[in-house]
């Protein structure tokens, strides 16, 4: 009985470690693409134009 419990505990422990490793290896959803870059998109002097003359 004791052996069985030990085995179950050991298996659970291994599964937990594997899960932790997997989580650590997977990029989190909150990771920022190109974290060393900042992009500024800008417009200026639109002067009331909602589209080009044509």
């Amino acid at each position: 009985m004791k052996t069985l419990v030990s085995r179950i505990l050991a298996t659970a422990m291994l599964a937990a470690i594997a899960m932790l490793l997997l989580v650590a290896a997977t990029p989190s959803k909150g990771a920022i693409a190109e974290p060393d870059k900042l992009v500024i998109l800008s417009t200026t002097d639109v002067k009331g134009m909602t589209s080009a003359c044509g």
Partner: protein
């Protein structure tokens, strides 16, 4: 914009100000653009004296209604000494704390607000705004400048701590920005036809290491955002009807004034064709002969700043009033290049040559960036066919890398 946001996690979207229309007739475009910028989630908007043209009260009401994040660090209420709008914004963009502040020129006419508002020396306001933003933890500081080219460059040279400056107010378009001292500067085009992309590389402390800027034309190869396209179409459909009515009323009033004592006037191409049938026939093959239809298709046939380059003698003696009362004066005709028909007798002694300058009165760098006189001139010079190369279809096509 969406694709840039997908490629780069840390993106800031700003408008530099100067977005209010050039004439009173287009006032509706001011509130519409404010709403559109909110839909686009613009992070900060600068301001110039143009935004005050319909009065400070009007702007205040529209800012309250639209909740547009407008910034200007040097415009004060003359009586209360309080800033007209917030001086700056501090935005957490991913892992970067970005400070954005705005400045307008002290040398401008504030129009109906000239007695109620006061503009502080931009350099004094800039030093204060930069210091406060840095103190509050901004690692990147961005200036939305409506000071024009020279004054803006002088300012970023004199005031330390500005990482990037977006420059507006009659600034010539430069496709590539440049570093001015330690500031990357964007000289960004106008009239909503261009977008500046400033790329800042950050160090470990999220401070600017290097900066680069490029301005792109928003040509047909860059797809519109669906949500905005339907918003613009809905607005333009109803607004254009209103403009047509107002333009007709104005044209009738102007016609009365112009007809009083104007010996020289426009005649229209049909009169010229009586003696110059070959040239008239060749003209019919050119894009000039369809210039009006392009405006109608774009629903800009009631927009004065567009009309003048698509008709003959807009609001001048004998020239175009509106499409109903002066239907023969639509399109770019003989007199656009050669001058008024009633001056014809003088052509023999003082002939008017069609030069690049003639074309450039309409084919400006802003409105017609693809224009190349050597390439376009053979299409309109009445000298027959054989040397013509196809005209470019899309201006500066492919300037923005695919997927960006």
């Amino acid at each position: 914009m969406d694709s840039i946001k997908a490629s780069y996690g840390q993106v800031v979207l700003v408008d530099n100000g100067g977005f209010f229309p050039m004439d009173d007739m287009h006032q509706d475009a001011s509130w519409f653009l404010m709403d559109a910028m909110r839909v686009l989630n613009v992070d900060a908007v600068g301001m110039s004296e143009r935004e005050l043209r319909f009065s400070a009260t009007y702007l205040r009401a529209q800012l309250k209604r639209s909740q547009l994040p407008m910034v200007c660090a040097n415009l004060y209420d003359a009586k209360t000494k309080k800033l007209f709008v917030q001086p700056y914004l501090l935005k957490q963009v991913g892992g970067v704390k970005v400070g954005i502040f705005g400045l307008m020129s002290a040398n401008v006419d504030l129009g109906p607000s000239k007695d109620s508002l006061r503009v502080e020396d931009p350099a004094v306001a800039a030093k204060r705004a930069v210091a406060e933003l840095r103190k509050k933890g901004a690692t990147v500081v961005v200036l939305l400048s409506q000071l024009g080219k020279v004054e803006s460059e002088d300012l970023v040279t004199a005031v330390d701590g500005i990482d990037a400056a977006m420059i507006g107010h009659n600034v010539p378009l430069l496709q590539k920005g440049r570093m001015v001292k330690n500031t990357v500067v964007c000289y960004g085009g106008e009239q909503g036809q261009y977008i500046g992309r400033t790329l800042i590389t950050l160090d470990d402390k999220k401070r600017m290491k290097t900066g680069d800027n490029e301005t792109f034309i928003l040509g047909p190869d860059i797809p519109d955002k669906k949500e905005i396209t339907s918003l613009v179409k809905g607005f333009e459909d109803s607004f254009n009807e209103k403009l047509r009515r107002l333009e007709k009323e104005r044209a009738a009033e102007d016609a009365k004034k112009v007809s009083q004592g104007a010996p020289d006037h426009y005649l229209g191409g049909e009169v010229c064709a009586r003696c110059h049938p070959a040239e008239a026939a060749q003209w019919k093959t050119t894009k000039h002969a369809q210039a009006w239809q392009t405006l109608v298709d774009a629903k800009k046939d009631a927009t004065p700043e567009c009309i003048s380059c698509h008709v003959v003698g807009y609001n001048q003696a004998g020239g175009f009033r509106d499409a109903n009362t002066t239907p023969t004066m639509v399109n770019v005709q003989c007199e656009n290049c050669h001058g008024m028909g009633t001056q014809h007798d003088a052509f023999r002694t003082t002939p008017r040559r069609v030069t690049e300058q003639t074309c450039r009165s309409c084919h400006t760098q802003q409105a017609s960036p693809e224009f190349d006189f050597a390439l376009f001139e053979p299409h309109i010079n009445h000298k027959g066919v054989g040397t013509k190369q196809p005209l470019p279809v899309s201006p500066m096509k492919g300037q923005i890398p695919a997927g960006r």
